[in-house]
């Protein structure tokens, strides 16, 4: 039976919302935390999917922005909880425990770093682009390891989750509500972006860069803007992820995390609106259920990935809808 993609999308989002609500009823707060983790990973992957799915750019260093978001949260919250000042070159601040402020900083920093990385890495393409983004990821990873002021290899713990006006973020379902709402808003904006002239031009640039130039579009500029938007979204996800765990560490910059983001997009469906959400849900479910049985649960993830790549190139959404690509 083939399902329509809007129906699949609705079921996926409804499912992600229903699980924590059910967990709330049966008093299973850990399940709510799992759903929150899935929503945040999905958000990060939605960011990457703009680059990968629309722009066709395989960034193997997207954990950079996840980590920047995480460290933006960690550093601001650390200074706020220790009542110390954060000395920046032009001004000093005492940090903050306000989530909206942290999100803005995380997104702004991630976007700025994405702009710089994009300027350099988009001079290349194909395997060289993959390698240069990976190299940037490793640079940030090793920098974080050696950054003793903020925990170095041990990372940085935040004692109390940051606050959001009108909500108690320590209550799991309320924090899930924040993450789920942000995910829904981002999905809505991503859908609008994909259908906009910018999104279409980016898609066209993926198909035939030279031809795009003859209609007056600069493919490098299109990809750079996509890179910046993508980085900002992934940075926001990083800040939420750090808040979920109340902990940041260099692993947020790791190439394994970049790879996992790509894997869960492929599992869900590259370029599909809900591909990252399905992928993140499957990833978190496997991590939890199989991870409890064996530490080698990645083997099963690998088998699923192999099956998807070999037999279902549109990902899970492709299998459910019978469409390999968004337009087919």
């Amino acid at each position: 039976m083939r399902l329509s993609e809007p129906l699949v999308n609705t079921i996926v989002l409804a499912g992600l919302l229903a699980v924590p609500l059910y967990a709330l009823v049966v008093d299973e707060p850990f399940t709510i935390t799992l759903a929150t983790r899935a929503a945040i990973l999905a958000l990060a992957a939605v960011g990457l999917n703009i680059l990968l799915g629309i722009g066709g750019l395989v960034s193997f260093g997207h954990a950079v922005f996840f980590g920047i978001g995480g460290y933006a949260m960690g550093i601001l919250a650390f200074h706020a909880q220790t009542y110390t000042t954060l000395d920046l070159a032009v001004f000093t601040t005492e940090g903050t425990k306000s989530m909206p402020v942290i999100w803005l900083v995380a997104m702004g920093l991630s976007a700025a770093i994405a702009f710089l990385i994009g300027l350099l890495s988009l001079r290349t393409s194909g395997v060289y682009f993959i390698m240069i983004t990976l190299a940037f990821g490793q640079m940030f990873f090793y920098f974080a390891i050696s950054w003793a002021q903020y925990g170095g290899e041990d990372g940085l713990s935040i004692y109390v989750r940051n606050g959001f006006p009108g909500l108690n973020t320590l209550v799991p379902i309320q924090f899930f509500g924040i993450c789920f709402t942000i995910l829904c808003i981002t999905l809505f904006l991503k859908a609008r972006l994909q259908a906009s002239s910018f999104g279409l031009a980016l898609n066209a640039a993926r198909q035939t860069p030279a031809r795009v130039e003859t209609v007056g579009l600069n493919p490098t500029r299109l990809k750079l803007l996509a890179f910046v938007i993508s980085g900002a979204i992934t940075g926001l996800a990083g800040a939420l992820f750090a808040d979920l765990n109340r902990f940041v560490s260099p692993t947020m910059f790791s190439w394994q995390l970049s790879g996992e983001l790509i894997v869960l997009i492929i599992i869900g469906g590259v370029g599909r609106l809900m591909g990252p959400v399905i992928g993140a849900c499957i990833f978190v479910a496997l991590e939890h259920f199989l991870g409890g049985l064996t530490e080698f649960w990645h083997v099963y993830l690998g088998i699923i990935l192999l099956c998807i790549v070999l037999f279902g190139r549109g990902g899970v959404i492709g299998l459910l809808t019978g469409k390999v690509g968004a337009h087919v």
Partner: protein, 228 residues
């Protein structure tokens, strides 16, 4: 004053020189046929005008030097190209192909659909699933959506069924009669070119060997340089 002015244009592919001195001018609203046998440099000239390959010589659009501009800026200045082989964005629908290229101006989805009614019926269809003729119409529509001052059609009717060719030529005539866009045409059909063009420029071995009003193009000149 000419809209496009090309003087002594030279270009090379690596070590192989392809253009040895192309001269042509196109005025606003004028239709110019760029003619010549195969391999004489017609498409290379178009690529040089659009800055898709490096070239030397004088190349100006409305007095502005095109040599210092990248190809996307040349397109933004008003040079619309319908490339040989169509090259639509295969994964996008007809509507999306047109929207992706759209720039402000008189050409809109509606006016393109009026020019090519066949496209109007297939707005939601993927470009890859269109027939060759429909893809060609889409390629022309996409170039028009950039609202060009100069439209270049490189072998726009190549490989199409006679009835589709007629539709394309009818659209070119409408563009000539109803808009002020200058058109540079490359096509193998000398008869059709003669009917629609105001003047002709003939290339041989990468340089201009004849140019003048289409009415001055005698069968002898055509036979000598174009082979028809």
């Amino acid at each position: 004053m000419s809209l496009l002015s090309v003087e002594g244009l030279t270009a090379r592919y690596g070590s192989s020189q392809a253009l040895f001195g192309v001269d042509l001018t196109i005025a606003t609203g004028e239709v110019t046929a760029l003619m010549g046998r195969n391999g004489m440099g017609k498409t290379t000239t178009v690529k040089a005008i659009c800055r898709l390959i490096r070239s030397a010589g004088r190349l100006t659009l409305d007095g502005a030097d095109l040599h210092c501009l990248p190809s996307h800026k040349v397109a933004r200045m008003g040079v619309g190209l319908v490339p040989e082989g169509r090259r639509c964005f295969a994964d996008l629908t007809v509507r999306e192909n047109l929207i992706a290229a759209a720039r402000p101006g008189e050409w809109t989805l509606k006016s393109v659909a009026q020019l090519f009614p066949a496209l109007a019926e297939r707005m939601a269809q993927r470009a890859a699933s269109l027939s060759g003729g429909e893809q060609q119409m889409l390629a022309i529509g996409r170039a028009l959506m950039t609202n060009p001052r100069l439209l270049i059609l490189d072998e726009a009717t190549e490989g199409l069924a006679p009835i589709v060719r007629q539709e394309i030529w009818a659209a070119v005539r409408r563009l000539k009669e109803e808009t002020g866009v200058a058109i540079l045409l490359i096509d193998k059909s000398v008869k059709e070119l003669a009917q629609v063009s105001d003047k002709a420029v003939i290339l041989a071995r990468g340089k201009t060997v004849w140019s003048g009003p289409m009415t001055d193009l005698t069968p002898e000149i055509s036979e000598r340089y174009v082979g028809v």
